[in-house]
Amino acid sequence: MDLRETEEQRAVRADYAQWLSDFLPADYYDKYADYRWDYELRKAYQLASFEAGWLQPAWPREHGGRALGPLEALTVRLESAMRAAPKLPNIQGVGVVAPGLRSFGTSEQQERHLVPVLRGDEWWALGMSEPGAGSDFAGLRTRAVRDGDRYVVNGQKIWTTQAHESRFATLYVRTDPDAPKHRGISCLILDMESPGVTTRPIRMATITDETFCEVFLDDVEIPVTSVLGAENEGWKVAMSSLDHERDMIWVMNWVEISRGVREVQKRGDSLDDHQLVELGRRMADAEALRMTGYRSLTSSLRGDRSKEFFILKLLGSESLQRTWELAATVAGADGLADGALAFERHDALAATLYGGTSEVQRNIIGERVLGLPKG
C-alpha cells in the first residue's frame, strides 16, 4: 500500500499537466466562471484531448488514448479534474456511450460511431428515463415492434440530457412485452434525425449546460442492425451504462467538491469554528472519495468484485450538495449577489438524482453489498 507515484506515473501526469497548461488561455483560471460557459473552448479541448491521447488515456491511440494502465489513466483523470480542465460539452458521449460502443458494439457500429463521438463531432443522448420510469428503469414502456429488418418504435423519453443537440441516442425500448420486466428490453442506436422523432427542451429553473429534453417517438423506424448488444439484452447494456456513468460522476463530484472547498477556504479568516468543522468534513469527503476511487480500481485490478465502487455515487453526490450549501452559508449576503454560486448550489441538488437517486444507491448498497433482502 503506497500512494507514491512511480516514475512513469509522475511523468505521465507531468506531461498531461504541461499539455493542458499549453492548451489553456493564459487567463483561464482568473476567468474560470466565464470560461465555464465557453462552448467553443470546451469543444476545442475535447478535440485536442482526443488528438493528444488524453481523452480516454487507457484506450489506444485511435480512440483518443495512449494505452496507459488503468492507474495511470485514473491519475490523469484526477489531474484533469484538479486542474479544472474544461468540461466536455457532451460528457456522456465520451464517458458513457463510447465505452458502451466498445463493449457491446459490432465492428460496424464502432467503425461508424466511435471516432465522431470521441472527437465531439457527433453528440449523443441517453434515452433511458420515461414519464413513468425514472428510478424504476425496468418499468419503461417505449415499444419497439419488429417488422422485417427494422423496428417500429413508439413511446416517450424524458429528462434526456442534450437530446435536442444530439445526433444519436442510446434508446432503451421494450422488445418483448411478455418477458419479465428487465428481460424484454433492448438498446437501439437512434438516429435523432429519423422521421417521427420530436424533441422538446425543458426549461430548467436555472441556467444550465445540460438541458433536459422530452423525446417523442412516433412510428420511428430503426434498422435491426442498430441494436447495441443483443435483442432483449438491453438490461445488461443499461447496467453497464450506469456503471460507466457513475464512474464518470464521482470524478465530476470530486472536482466540484474540491472547488467548493476552495471557495470556502478563500473566506479563511471569517470562518467560525462551526464552519471550520463543516469545512473539515468536506475536505475529508473529497479525500475519501479519491481514495475510494483508487481502492475500487485496485480491487478490480486484482480481480475482486469492488464493493467500494458502490459508495462512490452516494458519497460524492451527497457531499457535493453539502459542500455548496456550506459555500452559500459562508458567503452569507454576498452569496445572494453571486449568480455562479447560486447556480452551483442549485445544480448540486440534481447530483443526488441523476445516475441513480440516493435512495436507489442506498438500496444497492444495502442489497448488493450488505446482502439485505429487497423490500
Binding site: S129, G132, A133, G134, S135, D136, G139, I158, W159, I202, R203, M204, A205, T206, F212, D272, H274, Q275, Q321, E325, A328, T329, G332, A333, D334, G335, L336, A337, D338, G339, L341, A342, R345, H346, L349, A350, T352, L353, Y354, T357, S358, E359, R362, N363, G375
Partner: protein
Amino acid sequence: MDVGFSEGQLELRAAVRDVLAKECPPALVRSCLDDSEAWRPLWQRAVDLGWTGLALLDDDNGMGVIELIAVLEELGAAAAPVPLLSSAGLAAGALRAAGPAAAEWQQELADGAVGALCVDTSPGSLDASRADLLVVIAGGELSVVRPGAGVVLAPLDAVDPSRPMARVTVETDASTEVVLPVSVPAALAIPLTATAAELVGLATRVLDIAVAHAGTREQFDRVIGSFQGIKHRLADGYVAIERARGLTYAAAMLAADPDADRVDAWRAAALAKAAAGDAATETTRAGVQVLGALGMTWEHDMHLYLRRAWQLSPLLGDSAALYRDAASSLVGAR
C-alpha cells in the same frame, strides 16, 4: 395561557389565504422573477384590504404580533412577492422597540408605505429597492432614513429576484428623519419572529407539494410515498416544521407580552428563526429529491420556494449563527 389562534385570528388568516389563492398564484411569483414591477397590484390589494395595518403591531386591537405571524405564514405559503414581511415585520417590528417616538413611521407603514430594515451586523436588506422608508439599526441606534441621495443600494438578487434584497450603504448626506436609542436584541425580536413565520409557511406548502407528489407518483408498481426512504424523510420534514412553528409561536407570544424579559424574547425569536431556516432549507431540499428531475424545472413551482428559502435563510443571521448566539447568551460567556 392559550396556545392557539383565536376565532378572529383564524378568520383573518383564512381571509388572507383566500385572497392569495386567487390573486397570488405561482404564476404571479414566476412573473416577478423577471418583471420588477409585477408585485405592485397585489401589494395595492394588501393595502386596500388593510393588511398593512399590521405594522401598528397593536396587540390590544386585533392587529398585533400574533395576527402578523398568522398572516405571514400564509404569505410564506404563497411565496407572495410583496413587502409585507419587510414593512410590517422587519421595519415596523424594529420601530416598535423604539417606543412611542417611532409611532408616526409605524403609522406610515400601516397606511401602505413600503419599509425595509437594515442592520449593520447583518448585511442584506429585504425589499430595500422597493422601500419608501428604511429603518436602520447601527451602533445601537435606530434611525429612519429616506431612500435617495446618500443611500446606495447594491443588489443581492441573484437568488430570488421576485422579492429582491440589497446591501444598503447610508452615507452622511442621507435624509435621516430621526435617530432613536434602541436595545438591539429588543429591536430584532419581532423581525426574527416574522421571518420565521414566513419560512414556516413556506416550508409547510413545500411539504404539502412533496407529499402530494409522493402520494401519487408510482415507481416499481408502488406509490413512492409508501417507501420508507421517502416517507421517513417527509416525516422528518414535518417534525422540522412543527418544531419551528412551536418556537415561532412561543417567540410571538413573548414579543407580544409587554412584561416579558427582552433578552428572553430575543432569544426565543433567534431560536425560532434558526429552526424555521432549517425547516425551509431541509423541506425544499427534500422536495426537489422527492420530485426528482421535475423539481429542477422552470415550470414546476418548487424553485420559487427554493429561491425564497435560500434568500430568507441568511436574513438577520443564518441558522447556525442564531443557534450559537442564543446559546452563548444563555451561557453568558461572550
